[in-house]
Amino acid sequence: MKAVSRLILLLLPAGSLLVAQVIRWPDVLVTPSEVFVSDSQGLQIGSEQILYEKTLKSSNSFFWESNTPTTYIQQQAQYELSNDAVDKNQLVDFTGMVLRKNWPFNLLSTGLVWTPVMSYSSDSASGNILSTADLGPTLLTSFYGIPITLSGGFAAKVRNENALHPMARSGFDNYQNSPGYFASLETGDTGNPLLFRLPLYASGSLYRRSTTDSKVFSYKGTALVAQSMPGADSFFVYYEDAISDGRNAFVGKSSGGEQQYVESERRQGRTMRFLAGVRGLEMLGTIPSLVYSHSVYSISYPVNSGLLRDERSRSNALEFMVKTSPAYWVDYAGGLRLENEHSDRLYTTNIGRDYLDVDARVLMLDVGDFNNYVSHMSHRLAKYTADSIGGEYTFNISRHSKVYPNVYFVGSDTFQNNDDNDRIARHHRLNFRILSQPFSVVNVFGEYFDNLQNYTKSEQSGENYIDILYRLGTVVKLQPFPRCSLSEALTADAQRIRYRFPEMHPNTPPAYSREFSSVLQAGVEIRKHVSIHIGWTEAYSDDGHWYGSEKSGYYGIQRKSRKHGVQLFGRFNLASSLRFDVGGEYGNVVDLDYDSKSRAYIESPSTTSRIFIPFLSGTGILTDYLYLDIKAQFFMERYKNVQTFKYSDKHNYWDLHATIALEF
């Protein structure tokens, strides 16, 4: 493998990766913070440009609103472009609204909404335009303080399937339109309680859009009851139901490559979630919480069930979490989650008992129904002194256990899924900070991962294995002089596979690999606001197989890899929160493969490479209103030619990333 670019992130401090917390209090069960609408004008301008692997993605947005005692005006403009070697896609959105407050009556506001959206897709030989627009009056009022917005009006869809050069030469001759109407109703407020003193946050929306070739209906409702009383437990209940039903129309290419207008099948989708949680008062120095959740997700095609794409999944989960109070002598947070998921394919098809005449494809898909029993547990225990010396231990374990219950017998054929399996993953991590002084910090850590694959049926159980990874590391940070900083990160990994039934793998001994890496970084402030930084990376890795028995066997190395990298850049702090980096990275990867004829390791030209990356980056807040984050890199990769063994194969390209945000 050509691993030259691996050097880029090897300069990151090793061991800095964190394990995501899986069991945590759901976001939807949080009391919303109150939303304030100021009487003022606001302007936001954002721009993000990414050129990555010769693919350009550009996203530009403009948002302006004016809120005065008599009028509210909102206008946005969005332009998105993606352009790779094959296709170019553009999208423009000019959605906006104007509202005259308390006109013609008090408590009733009247205005106009417009949502013109146009997309243009093209390649070297063809192009198409698809534009949609809603335009109509809107009314805003409130009922017992609950806001209600009603809109409706004219809707249209305009298309041109032959628009390589839009509007050039042919004018509007190739444009066709599908007129219709739209209507929408929105009510409720997710940021403020629905009724005074009642802790209910709810919202609902209905949307209907109908043109001559597409009809869409959608509904979404949410409700949260959050009762948080001082001196007592807190209760939360959340319900969400969303339905979409309809068919769309879009422009695509036919099998012959011509542009054509396609109407999709009518599709019904539903997502329902119910969550109930209780967060307890402090008990024995700990704060417990419990959450039950139930969800249903379904999709179906009522007009054409022969598509065989309908599916429904249901899930029930129970989570128990506990954490220590801030005043407790040790920090602990952990939890247990138990979930039962049932996936039902072709749930709208009634296969029944008399399935002998059912299409074999239907039976083969239906045996994909499964029950998945998931259990997950995590713990984090930490204790640090006032001097920041101490340690922490984290433990995560999860088990996914799948059962495929459906079996059909048709003549001598048996339709059954034999992939019943368990997947169990464990991770232990122990980290100690053994020194924490103003000018020196020393961390040491160890990690253990294992992943078990366990098929229960005899057809697959020969593939059962456990994959084990051990990791040791240390990170040392020093500041020997006031203007000089130094850090060193060392890691060592060993990974191995162990088969559950080794006799089933007589010719493929279990895989084994090792990796050792060192990352040294130093920075010197040479004058006020200017510093020089250097980085030096050395890494060695090898991989192969473990031959012979577990205790008396030996490790046969098939490939060795050495990576060397240096980084040098200057940092210029132009303002308190704005800085620029200018510099470059150089890396070299050398791979050696074992040659069984000569019994020696010889260089692998196809994976040995050099890279040089000059770069410029800047990030920070330029004024109170302007934020920018830019990075420009030029990759110069050199690969060894397989015949000449010289670095003669070149590959150069730019990677650019720029984000600019302006807000008044």
Partner: protein, 198 residues
Amino acid sequence: MGSRNARATVVLIAGILLLSCNIFSPRDPEYPDPVQVPLPDYFNFRGILATTRIQFRSVEYDDLFNDTLHYTDAMGSAFFKKEIIGHLDKIIAGIESKSFSLVVRWDTLPGNKENFYEETRNSILRRYSYTLTYRQISTDSINGIDGEVISEVHEGTARFELTYARLRNMWTIIFWKDVPDNVSQSIFHPDYNEGPFE
């Protein structure tokens, strides 16, 4: 105070009961058949990493695809893991019941050798051209006679981003952009519904 002690006791007992249920232990597997049937890889996903030293630990779709997988087509429409798996399984059901043969070849883009990818410790980017060939023997349903062989070749380019699922020690596909030649939807597209793949 009494109710708090009671709650603590309930929590403790529930914890002991749960941990005694072996909820984190594997089931006992049956002893393997002498002739193992490897999981079929109809779409040759292992071929994506064929020229690298790493490999997919499993081609079972739940393992192969990251939970946050995004599949996007040439028009930029995005689809998720559940939709992709449902569609691939539907094709496989068609293949297995109608005796298709399906061959997928992933080639690094011509003229670029293997340069079109970038790897860090956590992600890999790879670009390929692909060729998908399927053959089907049409059967005379009335007389039960095998007829002509229907053969089609589909080509396109694909871009994959792989991420290392740290807790599971395995590489998974997290992004897949599929740009077929001449058509807007490839056979991999969840809405593809033509010919024998209906």
